[in-house]
Amino acid sequence: MASILVQFLNGLAAASTLFLIATGLSLIFGVTRIVNFAHGSLYMLGIYVAYSAVNAFQPAGPLGFWGGMLVAALAVGALGALIEILILRRIYQAPELFQLLATFALVLIIKDFALWVWGAEDLLGPRAVGLDGAVSIAGRRFPEYDLFLIAVGPLVLGLLWLLLHRTRWGTLVRAATQDREMVGALGVNQKLLFTSVFALGAFLAGLGGALEVPREPAQLFLDLSAISDAFVIVVVGGMGSIPGAFLAALIIGEVKAFCIGIGNVEILGVVVSFSKLTLVIEFVVMAVVLVVRPWGLLGRPQAIQRAAPSHIEPPLRPASRGLVAGAVVLGVALLALPAYGTAYNVVLMIDILVFALFAASLHFLMGPAGMVSFGHAAYFGLGAYGAGLLLLRAGFPMEAALVAAPFVAALGAALFGWFCVRLSGVYLAMLTLAFAQIGWSIVFQWDSFTGGSNGMVGIWPAAWLSAKPTYYVLTLLLCAAGLLAMRRIVYAPFGYALRAGRDSPLRCDAIGIDLQRIQWAAFTLAGAFAGLAGAIYAFSKGSVSPEVMAISRSVDGLVMVLLGGVQTLSGPAVGAAAFTWLQDTIARNTEYWQSLLGLTILVIVLAFPRGIVGFLAWRFGRAEEIE
């Protein structure tokens, strides 16, 4: 009984931190409509800065400690304001995906910055001055500091409520959450409003981080783990609902605490490790909530957003003769590559082809179907692990493993997709990310089956394919077939139905199209193609590791698609080629290639806020008179 009470209190303490991060994310999204991918990074910075500040001010006694925490949160808030002014302010009009990319670029940059300043070692801060003792609760010792944290959550919730409902600033923020353009047309300076909201959100994330210093060491992976926690909470609670975020944080905090508390339990002779479940349990909660209430516990359906006229793509036309001829010439040139290229060229080209297929499968969802996936690497990874496991654990021949792996990925995509297609827009994107994180957590932790963090080695192709040039030809044939098949599908009734769903769900409903079923099938198909890419990749490297399904792999895919242009069918392949080559070149030259990649993305986004293709269309397009 006492242990249940203590677990309950642990859960409350964790919930406070989760609430601080999630509520800032929710506020920022509400007003600016930007999903701030970098929110977890701000949280992580909060911990690092507080660690340094607290250590620096420690000699000043309790004031130094608590002052250091506040300074850290304020500093992160100020950084948030700076980010808003320097970067986000320039891209509010840009397509949603570009905004996401920009904030993801910040994730990469902040991570490398933290690595540069604080190094890769975990840093544990001092214990809270004045609250470093423990109290006795039902005969157990419970840290005083955790009791303090438990109080912080409701306190912040109350203050935010007052701020939003009892001040004019709050009224303006709530108005802007619904219609920021109209707020501007009524004479309110939106820039100030946006900057202040972003700064407040960043401050809350920084505060959440700073408050963790006495409990948790500063580590470099906290950014992505915090952002996926925050996504889950915001989705469970309902986008834009602050009480919802609080409720969701409580639920997730408690569920996790109890999983840790239960530990290993033998059920029917099988040892189930509940503590290992903590990494996935929140996603299970989310999945359940989304099925019952698709808009979150306290959320409301999002208004359907219409694409701006400049974002509507032109009708599909059959490939021109020039394009067909060009593709044939390119195909022949690629087929002959082993004859004239170096061994390194061939290896690099295998990567390029694999990622072209991966990017095209992501584009299949993002472009025609209009479903943005932040977690497409899950299916790439399922294909790669599927191939490896079938070969090594199930004893399949390599050829059979290669053929079966896409089905493994398709199965995973069908399972995840069943939930995802119930949502749209940002909710959908976040859910895909969450599922990818589940997949990653499983392969990362299941040492006995997937090899855990080390992955698996010895995944080599069959003897007749073992020579690189031969494997290259196989790769070329499979990837080209995949690309052509997807293209064909886009021109077929199924592809048209997908575009119809993207253009007007209302009209689909009115002409009897079962959109969810069509989208679910598309999700599964895209997963299969990504899985094929993953399987080819695994056999080309001879190994798999959890990295194949990490968030960064998903983002690589997004960058490739956006580089090439969402509105073109050949774009993803071009984007994949450019990206893979660029990454190969940069990564060979610097340790901080992630931040260089981030900077490159930022430059692209800021220089071409309409997107590259949008820019070209705008610059060279023919003005069209609307009657």
Partner: protein
């Protein structure tokens, strides 16, 4: 003539507010029925209960004798109900012809096909429909660059693609110029009479209401307060007071 749409005792409330209260009416084959009333009178709610977007608290909706309450909009479409929207909803990234082809593909249950080219299927049938609504020459243009009045015609052609027996038109002429309004409604009237389709429409333009409807029903605060021919409605003092205002004097 038999009733294509029969509504009886339909009620719906939202959070304690009674939006529609025991409304009953019928629409017969080849008949145009206009539903009018002040904003917030419950017209849209009524409409959405017929098309399946809302489930009534009580009452029945029968289309061709079959109960539709509890069915999804797309199932109701398969029972032969075409719809046009107040703000046009078409597939902007497709050509006019492809929009109609989509409705035909759906009607024939062919949307899961992965191989044939969609743009070559049901081409002739699509063009026939476009010719019927008078925009065949626009077949190859993108819907996103079409004039508003022509978009309304695209919607009408899509609604006709599954040989409907009931057509639901939500403010069919909203946002159109007076001359276009009359042309569109004359066209719609002609088509529905030749095919024996029943039409239920809402409208705020009194010329469109009194010039084209066979019968008019009036809703106010969720209740049906009047029903009859245009002249009867215009002469009804209660309707004049709550809705028509100075337009009733003409």
């Amino acid at each position: 003539m038999s009733a294509v749409l029969a509504i009886s005792g339909l009620s719906k409330s939202f959070g304690g507010v009674q939006a529609v209260q025991s409304v009953s009416f019928e629409v017969r084959e080849g008949e145009l029925l206009a539903m009018i009333g002040p904003n917030g009178a419950g017209k849209t709610t009524c409409f959405n209960m017929v098309n399946g977007q809302l489930t009534p608290d009580s009452g029945t909706v029968r289309i061709g004798g079959a109960e539709t309450v509890g069915r999804k909009p797309r199932e109701i479409w398969r029972m032969g109900v075409g719809r046009t929207f107040q703000i046009t909803a078409t597939f902007a990234s497709m050509t006019v012809r492809e929009n109609i082809q989509m409705a035909l593909l759906s009607h024939h249950g062919q949307l899961s096909r992965l191989w044939p080219r969609a743009s070559s299927l049901h081409r002739a049938a699509a063009e026939e429909l476009l010719a019927r609504v008078g925009i065949l020459e626009q077949a190859d243009r993108a819907c996103s660059v079409l004039a508003y009045g022509d978009l309304k015609r695209v919607e009408l052609a899509m609604a006709l693609a599954n040989d409907p027996r009931l057509l639901l038109m939500d403010e069919p002429t909203a946002g159109m110029a007076p001359k276009e309004r009359i042309a569109l409604m004359a066209l719609a009237g002609e088509i529905v009479r030749e095919r024996g389709i029943a039409v239920l429409y809402t409208e705020h333009d009194m010329d469109v209401v009194f010039g084209h409807a066979d019968r008019v029903i009036v809703l106010n605060r969720g209740e049906l307060i009047a029903s009859g021919t245009g002249d009867q409605i215009r002469a009804n003092p209660e309707v004049r007071q709550v809705y028509l205002g100075s337009r009733g004097e003409a």
